[in-house]
């Protein structure tokens, strides 16, 4: 039997790395978390709507505007060169973040919604004809439903939706191959459901779609800041994300597109930045991704998003994913203590860091209004998934959604507040 290795500083550091970051200490990076709301400490549990911003991101924006601000790709002066370098280095940063093959596969957008609309307007116009099928799922956000409805109305294509199995909220994939083989042109689905917390097996689903010759789009709005997202491992053709849901500023997002595919697509919007030469009647455009970025882009947003990516990778997205799932599982277990007094939505195990629920006898908006007075920020409503709510037979739910700066102690506090709410409404 071998002797245990002596404890050296290296192994001590390794075991600290194993244990993961000090989540409580990271809270100090977020100025907004340290305030009182209605005379109580803020408990921010609406991270699926938007996350808070660390000082590193806020400072990156400030630094950009105080030192480097100018327009990009057209100036010859020093500031314009700096701004262009910052913008293009943010593109390269996003490519590394998603493990894209090159920065040319990264299009800057306003967010996930615009990324999906861009694909529907360009790829859709070029590839979708009357009678084609666009395959979605029943758990999609409105942003991954409505653009395809508009495309279907324009082209005469039809929509189909992979079913969700009841309150447990898993995709029923039993007929996937059969459906994929019957006239489907595109499969667009979410990586993580914003109202159920379901984590879909997107790599497996995209592999099956690829085998059937179906183009794929993954909505990574809820996943990109919460776990490693590798477009080559997922094997999707397109992937869209929002910066503001991953510590970045609002108004900036990324659309990843496989380069061979992007190069074949027509422009999205026309204007400056996207052209090579313009005549009064015709123009020629730049290569992708610039072809899709008409007008002055959100330069500071891209700079802030790159800072957010640096920040998340310094913590480690594998660590964040584990913490997320621990919080999700803990919250689900604590809320299940309400037994008959609560209805919980989404999978019991393997869920992302959010929980949707209904307190029996109290409408979701009453829960959210009273919780707010206790300093707890929840979301109540249909979470932009009206068809899913209808399928579940509810008009709305309350939702607590977590990020790495949330703690189990905060979930305990949420449970106390929900008990107070039950008392308040005489339950």
């Amino acid at each position: 039997m071998s002797q245990p290795a002596p404890l050296t500083p290296q192994t001590a550091a390794a075991s600290a790395a194993e244990a993961g970051p000090d989540w409580n200490a990271l809270r100090a990076d977020f100025p907004i978390l340290h305030q009182q709301v209605h005379n109580r400490p803020l408990l921010y549990l609406d991270n699926a709507a938007t996350t808070q911003k660390p000082r590193a991101v806020i400072q990156a924006l400030q630094r950009y505007y105080e030192r480097d601000n100018a327009n990009v790709h057209r100036g010859i002066h020093e500031l314009s060169n700096r701004a262009t370098a910052a913008f293009e280095s943010a593109r390269a940063r996003a490519a590394r973040f998603l493990n894209a093959r090159s920065p040319e596969e990264i299009v800057f957008t306003r967010g996930t919604t615009e990324g999906i609309n861009l694909v529907a307007a360009t790829w859709g116009a070029q590839n979708v004809k009357a009678g084609d099928i666009i395959l979605l799922t029943e758990m999609e956000h409105h942003s991954n439903l409505v653009p395809w409805q508009l495309l279907a109305a324009r082209t005469g294509a039809r929509l189909r939706h992979l079913p969700v199995t009841g309150d447990a909220g898993l995709l029923d994939l039993s007929h996937l191959d059969e459906w994929l083989g019957s006239g489907v042109k595109l499969l667009a689905l979410t990586h993580i459901s914003n109202s159920l917390g379901t984590i879909n097996p997107v790599a497996e689903i995209c592999a099956r779609a690829r085998k059937a010759g179906v183009t794929t789009l993954v909505d990574a709005a809820q996943s990109a800041g919460h776990r490693p997202v590798d477009v080559q491992e997922i094997g999707c053709d397109f992937l869209a994300l929002s910066g503001h849901k991953m510590c970045g500023p609002t108004g900036i997002g990324v659309l990843y597109g496989r380069q061979e595919l992007l190069e074949t697509l027509p422009p999205y919007q026309g204007g400056g930045e996207m052209i090579l030469s313009v005549e009064y009647h015709t123009s020629t455009w730049k290569h992708a991704p610039h072809r899709f970025e008409a007008g002055t882009p959100d330069i500071s947003g891209a700079v802030g998003l790159a800072a957010a990516m640096d920040y998340l990778d310094a913590i480690g997205r594998t660590h964040i994913a584990r913490h997320d799932q621990e919080l999700g599982a803990y919250a689900y277990a604590r809320l299940a203590e309400f037994k008959e007094g609560i209805r919980l939505f989404g999978p019991r195990i393997g869920r992302a860091g959010l929980v949707s629920f209904l307190l029996r006898g109290v409408h979701a908006h009453d829960v959210v209004t009273v919780a707010d007075q206790w300093g707890v920020a929840l979301r109540g409503g249909h979470h932009c998934t009206q068809p899913l709510m209808r399928k579940l037979g509810v008009e709305s739910t309350a939702r607590a959604s977590f990020y790495f700066y949330n703690t189990p102690a905060e979930i305990d506090r949420l449970v106390e507040v929900l008990r107070e709410i039950q008392k308040f409404f005489g339950l």
């Binding site: 908006h365 009453d366 008009e395």
Partner: protein, 151 residues
Amino acid sequence: MSDDLSDLYQQVILDHCKHPRNFHELAGHHRSAEGHNPLCGDQLKLFLTMNGDRIQDISFVGSGCCISKASASLLTEAAKGKTRAEVERMFEAVHQMVTTGQAAGEVGKLAVFAGVHKFPARVKCAILAWHAIMSALKGDTQPVSTETEDM
């Protein structure tokens, strides 16, 4: 418990939310109107029997948050026996009260809704039943909504 919160959810409101009055369909009604806020999930239907210009009987059914249900319940109590013109005056007074905190006229028991003005997101819940009754009195057939934008 904060003062704002007990202003919003007054005991009378909690009582009407848990035990809504006139909460049934009305057989032989002359008029009805639906109110629906799909973003919120508040949904109600009002039924009226009329004697000339006067509301002889009134009831409602539906589901929604505490504020919308209590508002409909208290409305049925307040509007019973009133003329169309009297209901219109009450509508104006209640509308002003839930948006500013000050009633424009005599509102009686409905004064419990004054606290709603501190919760701008909930004004549309309190006012939904009132828009529905105005619609019923005008004889409109389209469901009304007090939502103008996503929350």
